[in-house]
C-alpha cells in the first residue's frame, strides 16, 4: 500500500493532471472552450477562489478549519463598498477592512486554541455575528461600488503590460511564490507544519500554539477580506452573501489539492491544483448545458470520486 501514490507530491500532480484532462474533455466537447476569452474568464474565477482558499489552506495545515471565510468575504465586500461610497480614500478603506478582518481572525484563533474549542463552532458563531452586524449596519441594503482600479484589476478583459490577462493573475502568481516560501523556508512555516502534525509535541519544541493559531486565523481572515474586496471589483456592487459559495469550495479545493484535514500535511500548490480542478468542473458542466441543480449534483459526485481515488486516509489501524 505504501506506493509513491501516498505522497503529497503525487496527489498534487494527480490534481493538476485531472485539471488538464478535464480541460481536454471540455475542448473536445464544447466549441470555444479553449478560446482566449474563455481561458481568461476561467483564470480570473479560479484566482478569486485561490485567494479565498489561501487562508483555508493555512488553517487546515494547522489542523483547524475556518467556516468564517464566507462571512468575512461578505463583510469585506459590503463594508468596503459602503465606506468607499461615503467618500473615504480607498487605501484607508482597505486598511480598515483588513485590520478589522485580522481582528476577527485573531479572535477565532485565540479563542479556539486558548480554550481548546473546536474551530468549526467558533468560526461559525463568529461568522454569524459578523454577518449579522453588517446586516444591521446596512439595514440589509448595502450600497456603494468599487473604485475603477479594483474593477480593472480583476476585469476579464483587462491586461497587464504586454500580458493579455488582468493584473490579478500575475499578482496571484507572486502571492503563490511568497506563500510557498513562507511555508517552506521560514520558521513560521515549519512551526505551522509541526503544530499541525503533532499538537502535543510542538510546545516541547518551543512552539507557542496560541500565537501560531492567532496569527494563522488572522491571516486567513485577511485573505478572505482580500477576496471580498476583489469580488467587489468583479461583480461591481456589494452583496452580503457573495461569499456563501466559498464556504464549501475552499474546503473542497484544499482537499482535492491533497491537504489532509487532520493537519500537518499539504501545500498551497496543491490548493491551486484543487482550485483549477473545481473551476474546470464547473465551467465544463455549465458549458454542457446542465441545469444549475444538476451542475451542483455532478459537482458533488465528482468531488467524491476524486477524493476517493487519491484523497484517502490511512486506516486508523495503522496508527495503533
Amino acid at each position: 500500500m505504501t506506493l509513491p501514490l501516498d505522497s503529497i507530491k503525487a496527489r498534487v500532480l494527480g490534481a493538476f493532471a485531472v485539471a488538464l484532462v478535464l480541460h481536454g474533455i471540455g475542448t473536445a466537447l464544447i466549441p470555444g472552450y479553449s478560446a482566449p476569452f474563455a481561458i481568461r474568464a476561467m483564470l480570473v474565477i479560479a484566482s478569486l477562489l485561490a485567494v479565498a482558499s489561501i487562508g483555508q489552506t493555512l488553517v487546515v495545515i494547522l489542523g483547524g478549519i475556518d467556516l468564517s471565510i464566507p462571512f468575512v468575504i461578505g463583510f469585506a465586500n459590503v463594508v468596503a463598498a459602503q465606506l468607499y461610497g461615503q467618500g473615504w480614500h480607498f487605501g484607508l478603506v482597505c486598511a480598515v477592512v483588513f485590520g478589522l478582518a485580522a481582528l476577527i481572525g485573531a479572535f477565532n484563533g485565540a479563542l479556539s486554541r486558548g480554550l481548546n474549542l473546536h474551530p468549526l463552532i467558533v468560526t461559525l458563531g463568529v461568522g454569524m455575528v459578523v454577518q449579522g452586524l453588517v446586516l444591521i449596519w446596512t439595514k440589509g441594503f448595502p450600497s456603494g461600488s468599487a473604485p475603477k482600479a479594483v474593477s480593472g484589476f480583476v476585469s476579464i478583459g483587462g491586461s497587464f503590460g504586454p500580458l493579455p490577462v488582468p493584473a490579478l493573475i500575475p499578482t496571484l502568481l507572486v502571492l503563490t511564490v511568497l506563500i510557498v516560501l513562507v511555508l517552506e523556508r521560514t520558521p513560521y512555516g515549519r512551526r505551522l507544519y509541526a503544530l499541525g502534525s503533532n499538537p502535543g509535541a510542538a510546545p516541547y519544541a518551543l512552539i507557542n500554539p496560541l500565537r501560531i493559531w492567532t496569527v494563522t486565523f488572522a491571516a486567513s481572515a485577511v485573505f478572505a477580506a482580500m477576496a471580498g474586496v476583489l469580488l467587489l471589483g468583479f461583480t461591481g456592487s456589494a452583496y452580503g452573501d457573495v461569499g456563501q459559495p466559498y464556504l464549501f469550495q475552499t474546503i473542497a479545493a484544499v482537499v482535492v489539492g491533497g491537504t489532509a484535514l487532520v493537519g500537518g500535511r499539504g501545500s498551497f500548490i496543491g490548493t491551486i491544483a484543487g482550485v483549477l480542478v473545481l473551476t474546470e468542473i464547473n465551467t465544463l458542466l455549465i458549458g454542457l448545458n446542465f441545469s444549475p441543480a444538476s451542475v451542483q449534483a455532478a459537482f458533488g459526485a465528482i468531488i467524491l470520486l476524486l477524493v476517493s481515488i487519491y484523497g484517502r486516509e490511512r486506516h486508523f489501524r495503522t496508527t495503533v
Binding site: 458563531g125 444591521i136 482537499v255 449534483a297 476517493s308 486508523f316
Partner: protein
C-alpha cells in the same frame, strides 16, 4: 444524575431562563394548551440536532453536514413522488419510505467515511451537493399539501415522532452499541486494541444519523404542510450548533441525544423570545452567533474546572 446535570448544566440553565422569559413575555403563546404546537414548531430543529449527534459521538472528525439536505430530499420524495404522483397516502408507507431513504444515504456516507476512508466532512459535503441538486431536480418549486395525518404531527401529535426517537435511543443505550460508540469516539485506538469493531460501529453511527435525518425530514414536512426544496439545507449548521450547545463534544465520545435535544430547544426558545421582542432577523443572527460562542466557552471553562477539582 449529577453527572448528567454537570454535562448539560449550562444548556439546562439557559433552557430554564429562556423558558421563564418566554412565559413572561408571551404567556398566550406559551400556554400549556399550545405546547403540542410549539413542540411541532421546534421539532425539525430538534430532529436535525438529534440526527447530527451519533456521527459526532463516533469521533475522529465524524460529522454529517448532509443532514439538512437529507431532510429536504425526504420531504420532496414523500410529498411529490409518493403522495402526489403515486397517490400513496398511508403513514405506514410514507414513514418507512422516509426512514429508508435516510438510512440508505447514511449507509452511503458511512461507507465513504469508514471503507473508502474519505474525511467525513468532505464525504458528507459531496453528499450535501448531490442531494441538494437531486432535490431541486425532483421538485423545482414548493408543492403541497401534505396529507392531513402528517400535518397533525406538527400539532396535536407532535410528541409522537420525538417520543419514538427517545424510546429508540433509550433502548440503544442499553445495548453494547452505545458503549462501543462512546469508546470509539473517545479513543478509537484503545477501543480497537480492546476488540471493539471500530469501523462497524462508526458505520452504524452514520446509518443511525441518516435514519434520524429521515425522521427529521418528516417533521419538517409536517410543520410546513408541504414540500419545499430550499428549506432543508438551512438546518445543517444550526443543528450542529445546537449539538455543541447541548454539551456534545465535537471531538467525539462525550454527550448524548438528550443534550442535543436540549441545545436545540434552547435555540428554538431564543428564537421565539427574540421574535416576541419584535427584533429584526439580523439581530436574531447576531444573538445566535453570540450565544453559540459564549455557550461553548462556558462549557469549556466548566470542563476545565471539573478536571481541576478531580486532580
Amino acid at each position: 444524575m449529577t453527572r448528567i446535570f454537570g454535562r448539560y448544566g449550562f444548556a439546562i440553565g439557559i433552557l430554564v431562563v429562556l423558558l421563564i422569559a418566554n412565559l413572561v413575555m408571551n404567556p398566550a403563546r406559551f400556554a400549556p394548551g399550545n405546547w403540542p404546537t410549539l413542540l411541532g414548531l421546534a421539532a425539525p430543529l430538534i430532529g436535525a440536532a438529534l440526527a447530527s449527534t451519533p456521527v459526532i459521538l463516533a469521533g475522529r472528525g465524524g460529522i454529517d453536514i448532509s443532514v439538512g439536505p437529507v431532510m429536504g430530499l425526504v420531504s420532496a420524495v414523500v410529498i411529490k413522488v409518493l403522495y402526489l404522483d403515486a397517490g400513496l397516502a398511508s403513514p405506514f408507507i410514507l414513514w418507512p419510505a422516509a426512514l429508508l431513504i435516510g438510512a440508505a444515504i447514511g449507509a452511503f456516507n458511512g461507507a465513504m467515511a469508514t471503507v473508502v476512508r474519505v474525511q467525513p466532512i468532505v464525504a458528507t459535503l459531496g453528499t450535501y451537493l448531490i442531494l441538494g441538486g437531486l432535490t431541486l431536480t425532483i421538485l423545482p418549486a414548493p408543492i403541497g399539501p401534505a396529507p392531513d395525518w402528517l400535518k397533525a404531527m406538527a400539532g396535536a401529535w407532535s410528541f409522537l415522532p420525538l417520543g419514538l426517537i427517545a424510546a429508540l435511543w433509550w433502548a440503544l443505550c442499553r445495548t453494547p452499541f452505545h458503549d462501543q460508540l462512546m469508546a470509539v469516539g473517545s479513543d478509537d485506538r484503545a477501543a480497537y486494541t480492546a476488540g471493539v469493531p471500530v469501523s462497524l460501529t462508526r458505520f452504524l453511527a452514520y446509518v443511525l444519523t441518516g435514519l434520524l435525518a429521515g425522521a427529521a425530514g418528516m417533521m419538517l414536512t409536517a410543520l410546513i404542510g408541504s414540500a419545499d426544496p430550499k428549506v432543508g439545507a438551512n438546518y445543517t449548521l444550526i443543528a450542529i450548533a445546537a449539538v455543541a450547545l447541548g454539551g456534545v463534544s465535537l471531538a467525539g465520545g462525550r454527550g448524548g441525544l438528550l443534550g442535543a435535544a436540549i441545545g436545540a430547544v434552547d435555540i428554538f426558545l431564543l428564537q421565539s423570545l427574540l421574535t416576541a421582542f419584535n427584533v429584526s432577523t439580523y439581530v436574531l443572527q447576531v444573538a445566535y452567533g453570540t450565544i453559540l460562542v459564549v455557550a461553548v466557552v462556558l462549557i469549556a471553562l466548566q470542563d476545565r474546572s471539573t478536571k481541576r477539582s478531580h486532580a
